[in-house]
């Protein structure tokens, strides 16, 4: 019983991480779109889009794909 609810609490915390990361990704995507529509400078656009894409990639790789499990293992936590 108590073990059950402990597991459920663990899950909802993990699920919240998912929402937070998704929110960041969504904001970055919209920012990309707005910048692309509004900005005229080619160079600035390339730089800003690259930064946004790398940030999004990093967030997915770290939080969604759990890259750290490669060296820490999953069972460790």
């Amino acid at each position: 019983m108590s073990k059950q609810s402990h597991a459920a609490a663990g899950e909802s915390a993990d699920q919240r991480t998912g929402f937070t990361v998704f929110l960041i990704l969504a904001v970055l995507t919209i920012a990309e779109y707005i910048v692309a529509v509004g900005l005229d400078s080619k160079v600035a656009l390339v730089v800003m889009l690259s930064v946004a894409a790398i940030a999004k990639c990093w967030a997915i790789v770290v939080y969604f794909m759990h890259v750290s499990r490669l060296w820490r293992g999953e069972e460790a936590h």
Partner: protein
Amino acid sequence: MAVATHDNAHADPTAHAWERVRINRLGLWLFLFSDAGLFALFAASRFYLSGTARDPHLNQALGLAITSLLLLSSLTAYRAETAFVHGNTARGRAMLLATIVMGLMFAGGVAFEWATAEFPVAELYGTAFYSMTGMHAFHVITGILFLAVVWARSGDGHFSGGPKVWPITATVMYWHFVDVVWVFFYPTLYLLK
């Protein structure tokens, strides 16, 4: 016989299963890394051939819509895996299904775009656009097939608990990878000018 007396660390079946997961995980990461190289070469070719030039006829609304859809499907994929890890099979299955549906909608969006796009495949931008979205869509479809297989197999508690979740994790990682590719392809194809 020989397997049964496998060395002492493996006498514990759970430890053995976790070791298998570690091995599989590295293999999958290497595979995805390698696959990413293929996409990177296509993106590099796009810049080599036509710089950042983009065709003005692109359907921006559709592009933003399918991009958001794929992003959202990454969230449901994450939720599916997390649910399975915590033994919540019902939610996991629902989320897998949601991911599949959004994947199908994404593929449909790409198909619609192909059918209505006003630039020919023979032009430089068309060359980049159709080949890059095509290769990506191929990965989306294979991803959907994998998702469908694990969804169909997940009913009887097959993937519940510890190392047994691995097939779900692997499929979901593949799906995230497909999203990562799109994270780069979307600005490359739609937003640069």
